[in-house]
């Protein structure tokens, strides 16, 4: 079993540069949650405010941050958050390049990203992590604090600020073009068992 790299969020360019596709990481620090509906609102806000908008107009300062694509189940009494595993990242592809250009440094989800997103990641030195889809009860244990900071009316899709400790993820796309989905599948193609 390979050792996980410990990183803290928000991320710096130096943090991102040392990560490579296939690395296992444990993230400690702040994550912001957002899915399709929240992304749509962020982009509408940017469209309304014009191209010259500074990232400061968004509901949170996006520079260096990691967005986690998740819509948790409601917390039971006494829980910090309900079950909270990753959702399919591809649904955010239309929105992500814009946010990356404003300073977003990391994204956590599941599944592959579009060419446009990968290019925007290289351009802005950003990283895409996958968490294990469906491992929602396990992942929730890494979330120590959760607070809705915007779009409360969206319910599970509201933007939350999470404080996490040793949140388990895997680097899928690094900032230099490495892609675990491509490399991993190539390695095992034709070797399947039944």
């Amino acid at each position: 079993m390979t050792v996980s790299i410990k990183i803290t969020s928000p991320l710096t360019n130096a943090d991102v540069e040392k990560l490579r596709a296939g690395d296992k990481v444990l993230i400690t620090g702040v994550l912001y949650t957002a899915r399709d509906a929240a992304h749509k609102r962020l982009i509408e806000l940017l469209d309304k405010e014009g191209i010259a908008l500074s990232a400061g107009k968004l509901p949170f300062d996006i520079k260096g941050q990691i967005i986690y694509y998740v819509g948790p189940t409601p917390a039971k009494p006494g829980q910090v958050i309900g079950s909270a595993g990753p959702t399919t990242s591809g649904r955010m592809d239309a929105y992500s390049p814009r946010l990356l250009d404003l300073g977003l440094k990391g994204m956590i989800g599941k599944g592959a990203r579009s060419k446009d997103v990968l290019e925007a990641m290289k351009r802005n030195k950003a990283v895409y992590f996958a968490a294990v889809g469906g491992a929602a009860a396990l992942i929730a244990r890494a979330i120590k604090k959760a607070e809705v900071i915007a779009y409360e009316d969206l319910g599970p899709e509201a933007i939350r600020r999470l404080e996490v400790e040793n949140f388990p993820a895997i680097v899928v796309n690094d900032a230099v073009g490495g892609d675990l989905f491509v490399q991993g599948v190539e390695k095992y193609r034709g070797t399947g068992n039944d």
């Binding site: 189940t73 959702t87 469906g134 895997i170 989905f181 991993g184 095992y188």
Partner: protein
């Protein structure tokens, strides 16, 4: 006629909703444990270990194994000797409403155009069939969108035959990659018409994981497809590996002489299904 109260149906449905979200059925759990021993990729084995640990936590702590507690799909067999004192569909929807609220499950159903959440995970998707007997059998299978979105349907030409079917199924899985949370179960509906093939594909997913079709030829096709799919190299969560699918389940139905409908419904590893007989 045997009298059944819709209140009993509501209570049972509520129970099924909560139990399905939190407690993985033994057949699905066993299939994942077997996969974790077969997987050749070390990272793939770690992913499967996390998946196993996750469903054990969900089971012990009574919490949902996945945050996507799904759209609520029911297959109901209503005995013709049963007399209900109200609407079956209303009773099921009320059970969903109560189960998703009291079970702290995510409400994931919205208007398709306005995208406003209905707030209580209703309406459910209910397939009802009238059968012999005096019981009501309810099968519940909540379906997450990550896997459902990767499903495909195609009206093939009859001349494309079995090779065409194989190609279409394998391509659907290849294109889906890591999105539907592999290891997956592949439900395939062959025949019927447009909508029947899709329902067959979903019904195929209700079979215990790895259960074979009773027709030897169809079972052979299931086995062959499983082998080809696991040779794609997608592996757990798409990180590369030798276990992409836990099983391929095929259901067939006669079709028009000019048609060959094929539907592929993909199920994630959190293969939630529960049933009850009232």
């Amino acid at each position: 006629m045997r009298k059944v109260s819709v209140k009993d149906i509501t209570a049972k449905v509520k129970e099924l909703c909560i139990a399905a979200a939190c407690h993985l059925e033994p057949d699905a759990a066993a299939a994942i444990r077997v996969a974790s021993e077969k997987e050749a990729s070390p990272l793939g084995r770690e992913v499967l270990a996390q998946i196993i640990k996750n469903f054990e936590i969900a089971d012990a702590e009574n919490v949902p194994m996945c945050q996507d507690t799904g759209i609520s799909v029911f297959f109901v067999e209503a005995g013709r000797g049963v007399e209900l004192d109200g609407s079956l569909e209303d009773a099921i929807n009320e059970g969903v409403r109560q189960g998703y609220k009291d079970g702290y499950l995510r409400k994931s159903v919205c208007d398709p155009l306005k995208r406003t959440n209905t707030g209580d995970n209703t309406p459910a998707i209910i397939h009802t069939r009238m059968v012999e007997g005096d019981k009501v059998k309810i099968k519940f299978a909540p379906k997450g969108a990550g896997s459902e979105n990767m499903s495909r349907l195609k009206m093939l030409k009859p001349s494309e035959g079995v090779p065409g079917i194989k190609g279409f199924v394998v391509e659907a899985v290849r294109e889906a990659g890591g999105n539907p949370c592999p290891p997956i179960i592949v439900g395939v509906g062959i025949g019927g018409d447009f909508e029947q093939s899709a329902i067959l594909a979903k019904k195929a997913l209700l079979r215990p994981v790895g259960g074979k079709n009773l027709d030897g030829d169809v079972a052979g096709l299931e086995e062959e497809l499983l082998k080809t799919i696991n040779g794609l190299g997608i592996g757990p969560m798409g990180f590369g590996g030798t276990v992409t699918a836990l099983a391929v389940h095929i259901e067939t139905y006669p079709c028009h002489i000019a048609s060959l409908p094929v539907a592929v419904n993909i199920q994630c590893h959190a293969d939630r299904h529960k049933e009850a007989v009232i």
